[in-house]
Symmetry: C2
Subunit: 397 residues, 2 copies
Amino acid sequence: MRIANRISRLGTETAFAVSAEAAAFAAQGNTVFPFHLGDLNMPTPSTVVDGSFKAIKDGKTGYNPSAGIPEIREALAANVTATHGVTYGWENVVMQPGGKPTIGKFLMALMNPGDEVLYPNPGFPIYESQIEFQGGVAVPYSYIEGPEGFTLDIEGIEASITDKTRLLIFNDLQNPMGVESPQGEHERLAALVRKHDLYVLADEAYFDMRYSGATRSFVEQPDMAERTVILYTFSKKFAMTGWRLGASIGPKEVVDVIAKINVNDESCPNHFIQYGALAGLEGDQSEVHAMIDTLKIRRDAATTILSSIDGVTCFLPESTFYLWPNVTEVMGRKGLNDYEDFRRSALHATGVSFCSRIHFGRPSPDEKSRYIRFAYSGIDTAQIEEGLTLFKDWCEA
Amino acid sequence: MRIANRISRLGTETAFAVSAEAAAFAAQGNTVFPFHLGDLNMPTPSTVVDGSFKAIKDGKTGYNPSAGIPEIREALAANVTATHGVTYGWENVVMQPGGKPTIGKFLMALMNPGDEVLYPNPGFPIYESQIEFQGGVAVPYSYIEGPEGFTLDIEGIEASITDKTRLLIFNDLQNPMGVESPQGEHERLAALVRKHDLYVLADEAYFDMRYSGATRSFVEQPDMAERTVILYTFSKKFAMTGWRLGASIGPKEVVDVIAKINVNDESCPNHFIQYGALAGLEGDQSEVHAMIDTLKIRRDAATTILSSIDGVTCFLPESTFYLWPNVTEVMGRKGLNDYEDFRRSALHATGVSFCSRIHFGRPSPDEKSRYIRFAYSGIDTAQIEEGLTLFKDWCEA
C-alpha cells in the first residue's frame, strides 16, 4: 500500500523493544528483574474498581459527552484548584482516554507547521515524535548534572528560542530523570514564557507520585495558568495505567478545541470508568497512600544499592518512580561504550532489565555522560535487592 | 490563545445540538420521544460485563500492547475470517478505543495533503471533517432514491474520480440511510477501485445489525482485501457504545502503521475490556440475538407508522437501526422549508426528536428531496408508537 509521507516523521517508544527482549530472555527460563517498565505491579484501589462496577450496573454503558461526564469534570477541577493554587471550573477540564492523548491534542490545537517547540531531552519520547509528525520543529533542552543533582538548563532554553518558538513542553517531576525543579527554576522559566509569548504543556503525569513535601505546579507562576495546558492522568496515582483515563486542563478556549478534537478522534472517553475514577478521587485514600509508602521503600532500596556501586552516581528523587544513575565510568571500565551493548550485557549476565538514555529522545552528539533508567514501579523490594546486588557485582567485576 | 490554523478545518457532529435541545425541552416538563440518538437503551450482554470484571480481578489493569492483547486480535481475526470469506490473522488486527478512531487513523496512514477522498454524503459527518482536517479534499457521493429504495450512485462516483483520487470511504449498511448495496453494486464499485488504484475504508459499524439474511462485506470482492481497511466496532452489536472498543482490520503493512499511531496517540486500548469483549465474542450469543429481535420489532413499528403518513415515503431496511423517510411533501405542505424549522416545530408540537439531512455532511445545492433520520435504538416500542402517532397527526394536520 502507498503509506502517507507523514508516517516517515512518526516516532515511537523504542522502550517496547526492551520489554520484548526481557520477555524473550525470561521465556528461555531466566530470571528477569524488570526495571524497564513504567507500569505498576499493584492493584487499582477498590474505590475505583467498585465505583466502575456500580456504574456498569447502573447502566452507564452508553455514549457520554465528548468532554466527559459533568461530575468528573467538576471534581477534577476542584481537585486541581485545591492543589495548584489556581481556580479551575468544569469548563477547564476535558477528559481523555489516558494521559498521553493530551500531548498530541495540545500540539494539534496550538502548533502550526514550522513552529518550533521546546521539549525535554532526555524526556518522554512521544514529545519529539508528535511534534515532528504534526509538522513542527522539535527543539530539545536538557538538565545539567551538578554535585547536588540535576538543574534545568535555563540558559540553554533561552539560547534556543528564536522568532519561530511558540510552545514549551515542561515535564516537572520528570520521566526518565526523576528531576523536580525548585521554585527559582519555575520563576525563571515563567519569565521566559512571558517574555517570548509562549504556550506551555505542563506534563503532570507524576504530580501525585511523591515521597515528601508537596508538588508545586508550574501554573502557580503569575500568568502561567492562562498559557498552560496541564496533562492530568489517573494512570500512576491510582494504578490505572491499563484503564486509560486522563484529562487536559487549561483555558476554556483551548479546552473547547480539544473537546472538538475528541468528537473527531474517539467520540468520548469510556463512560463507567469516569464514575470509578470519581469514586477514587472522592473516596477513602488509604490504598493510594499505601501505594506511595510501598514505592518509597522500593526507592530507598534501589537508590542505596545503585549509589553504592563503584563508578555510579545516583541521586535520591523525592518524586516519580524512576532513577537515573550516571554510569559513564562503569561503561568505560567494562569497555561497553554502546548503550545497547551495555544493556544487553547486563541483562544476559544478571537478568536486570532497564532502559537507557537512547530510549528518551535522540541524544545530542556532544553528550559525554552516560545514563540508564531504572523504574521501581513494577518490581517488589526483595527482587530489587536481589537484582541490583547482582548488577552491582557485575558492574564492579 | 493562538489556536492553530488547522482547527478552522475541523468539523464536528452537529447532531449533539439536537440532543441538547431535546434535553432542554424535556427539562421544561415535556415528554420527549428520542429518535435522534444512535445509541442503544439496552444493557451490555452479561458475557462482556462478567468477562471484564473477571479480568479486573485477575489484575488486567496495567498497560497492554499498543495493538491490543494477542487473544482478542486472534479471536477477531477468526471471527472476521468466518463472516467475510477472506483469511485474516492476528497480524491484520489492531485494536482501537472505539470504532471511530479507525477513520482518522486510516486517513493519517494513507492520505497525503491534497489527495481526493470519495465519501458518502449523506453519511457519518466525521468522514468529511477528518478528510479536511488532515488536508485532504473531500469529494462527496450519494445514493439515488428509486421506487424500490436507494441505489448507490456509481455513475456519480466514476464521474468524480480524477488523477488525484486516492481513497474511497464505503459505509455499506449505511448511517443515516439504512441502505445496503446488493452484490452488483459491490462488483461495480470494486471494478472502479481496481481501475483507479484506490484504497478503501470499509466502515462496517453496522455489519452485525441486521434482521434477515447475511451481510456481504466489500472485502469479498476480488483484490479488495489487500486494498481495504475495515472499521470494526463492538459498540452496536454488543451494546457497548460507552465502553469504547473497536479495531482496524486490514493488510499487515497498514495495520503496523496504525499500531504505531496508537503508540503515539493513546498508548494502548483499555486492558480488561478486551477480555470482556473476547468473552462476548466467544460466549453465549442469546443476549445479542435478543437485542436484534427487539430492534426488529421497533423497526417494524416505526416503519409501519412512518410509511402510512400522507406525503411520506419510508423504506424498510434489513440492517442498521435507522430510517430515512422522504418528507419533501410534508415540509412543503406545512410551509416549513428549512430543516431546522421543521425539526424544531415537530419537537415542540409533538415531543418527537430526530436528526435531518443537514446533520450528515454538507448538503449539495442541487438536492431537491428532503429527508430526516429516525434512530430506533434508544426508544422502546410503546414510545415509538405513541410518538410517531403524534408525529403522523402533526404531519397530516
